[in-house]
């Protein structure tokens, strides 16, 4: 029998698929719906910031041949709303990870504490938003700063601290610093900074000009990052980027991810894709003779 359970630090997931931050994770009602309708292993909320954010004006999404470019702009009701949101999530076996995007280590720590007090099972520090100034990528590019934030959050929290990193030159260094500062897991990657221009409008489509590329386009890059991280860090890795089917998910496990999170594919295939991916992994493991996800993790590193 195939066992799909995985542990990410203290989190127990019934399946290895997480809902990545940003999609269907801003209100309790959609979170409850995903829990009710799918076999999701854990849910990462939309990133919460100190103040409420309306987000950018439309257009906030743009087409590319191989992915979506989005600049939602961290729309969220501000971290104080977490009390009500977490309070309205039905009790169940799906851990809720609260994602946080802040601009100082102090904000990260305060929001994290607030999330913990209100029932979050873990926090994910978004250090990699590709299109919001002061809330993202610049932080993840600076390994020292990553270490400082993780240290500060870790020292005030009991629940696991996950660090979400984006594609930068020094992502491995940032992960190492995060690990050293006590991070319990690393998520990688976020969407990749991009621009889409319409040739007839002759303007960037997004009102914010810059957005983050997600979807199939970024998958091989994300696999590379996970592969590199696995060679260098000991803590679990959550692979994110361009998963559209079970093959992509298994590829992440083989590269070194202990679990996989998905976002954009929901826009193409709907919520049902979650169970399709899980079923595909199950069948693959069954046919190929694997009992536990952990047997797959990092397998591509051997000879």
């Amino acid at each position: 029998m195939v066992n799909l359970k995985v542990s990410i630090s203290k989190l127990k997931l019934k399946t290895p698929i997480l809902l990545a931050s940003g999609v269907l994770g801003s209100s309790y009602s959609t979170i409850n719906r995903v829990i009710r309708e799918t076999r999701i292993g854990a849910i990462v909320t939309k990133s919460f910031t100190w103040e409420p954010r309306v987000g950018y004006n439309t257009p906030i999404v743009a087409y590319t041949k191989a992915g979506i470019v989005n600049a939602v702009g961290l729309t969220n009701p501000g971290y104080r709303a977490l009390k009500e949101i977490l309070g309205n999530i039905v009790k169940n076996d799906v851990p809720i990870v609260v994602s946080i995007a802040a601009s100082t280590s102090k904000e990260y720590a305060e929001i994290a504490s607030f999330a913990e007090e209100n029932g979050a099972d873990a926090v994910e520090l978004n250090l990699s938003c590709p299109h919001v100034k002061g809330h993202g990528l610049e932080i993840g590019q600076d390994p020292e700063y990553v270490g400082k934030i993780v240290h500060e959050v870790r020292s005030v929290l009991k629940i696991p601290v996950i660090v979400k990193l984006g594609l930068t030159d020094r992502i491995v260094d940032s992960a190492l610093k995060a690990e050293k500062a006590g991070a319990d897991a690393v998520s990688a990657i976020n969407s990749i900074r991009s621009v889409v221009i319409d040739v007839y409008a002759r303007k960037p489509i997004l009102s914010n000009i810059y957005g983050g590329l997600s979807g199939p386009a970024i998958h091989p890059i994300a696999v590379r990052v996970v592969f590199d991280l696995y060679k260098n860090i000991e803590i679990p890795i959550i692979g994110i980027g361009g998963v559209t089917d079970w093959v992509d998910a298994v590829e992440f496990f083989l590269a070194g991810a202990s679990a996989v999170a998905i976002a954009s594919v929901i826009a193409i295939k709907g919520l049902k894709v979650i169970d399709e991916i899980i079923k595909g992994i199950e069948e693959y493991m069954d046919k190929e003779g694997f009992q536990k996800i952990s047997e797959l993790v990092g397998l591509a590193h051997g000879n």
Binding site: N32, V54, T58, I60, P77
Partner: protein, 268 residues
């Protein structure tokens, strides 16, 4: 090489004609290559330099799409200023439209620019040979939409004006409430207050009722979370915008409206 998520692609749309339908309401006829929408589905309309907004087409015939737009704010005002030969940009169609294959006759109820998807549904229902009645309400006679168009398609037409300048003096809801029991299906679109009453009536009478509703739509493809209906977690852009009355029952619909960052405003 087939592409990823084709409906996210921006299509240029050239304005071939502009028609003033009523005070503050214009129809734009657009030449564009998007797929034929199902009545009740919407497209996202972008005027570069302005916002991208959801609009439910009021007609589609061979690459010509009609959008009927009320001036509400900056973007809709800009759209009203466009002339034939100018362009706007469209993606979609998105969401779940009206199910026109339900059995029996149809009562169509429209308030304000809600008449847009309703008149388009009327076209398509009549093409299928269905029996259709059209109730249109407005403040006054000069604000009524698509009355002659509905007649041209041989629909029974009921008119309600607040000031009594034409037809029944009062609201479309009042007219509707008396007629609903005679029909197998109700399709409705308009102000939420009105839709809510129709929903209740249909639930009470057990008449199949499909309602096209509005929430703040930003992505249109189900991933940004701005159009969510609590507490069921329905996304208006992709689970809707057309819902059956049963789906809307026991939700925020008719009671409050959740604006993007999660701010709730009561429906007046």
């Amino acid at each position: 090489m087939k592409m990823f998520l084709e409906t996210l692609k921006m299509c240029k749309a050239e304005i071939v004609k502009v028609v003033k339908e009523a005070e503050g309401i214009k129809s734009l006829l657009l030449e564009t290559s998007i797929e034929k929408p199902i009545p009740g589905q919407f497209v996202m309309v972008w005027v570069p330099g302005f916002e991208e907004i959801p609009i439910s087409p009021s007609m589609y015939e061979r690459n010509v799409l009609r959008l009927t737009v009320a001036t509400v704010g900056e973007t809709t005002r800009k759209i009203h200023s466009l002339k034939p030969g100018e362009r706007l940009f469209i993606r979609g169609p998105y969401g779940r439209g009206f199910n026109l294959d339900e059995k029996g006759n149809f009562l169509l109820i429209a308030g304000g620019y809600g008449a847009a998807p309703i008149i388009y549904a009327l076209h398509e229902l009549r093409k299928k040979g269905k029996n259709v009645a059209y109730i249109i309400g407005a403040r006054s006679k000069d604000k009524l939409l698509f009355v002659s168009e509905a007649r041209k398609f041989n629909a029974e037409v009921y008119i309600a004006t607040d000031d009594g300048s034409l037809g029944f003096k009062g609201s479309a809801v009042e007219v509707a409430e008396k007629l609903i029991a005679k029909y197998d299906n109700v399709l409705a679109c308009g102000p939420e207050r009105m839709l809510y009453k129709i929903m209740l009536k249909c639930l009470e009478l057990g008449v199949k009722c499909q309602i096209s509703i509005e929430r703040y739509i930003k992505c249109g493809i189900g991933i940004c979370g701005s159009c969510v209906l609590d507490p069921k977690g329905l996304r208006v852009c992709s689970d809707g915008p057309v819902f059956y009355a049963e789906e809307l029952a026991n939700t925020e619909f008719g009671k409050y409206y959740t604006y993007p960052p999660g701010i709730k405003k009561p429906i007046e």
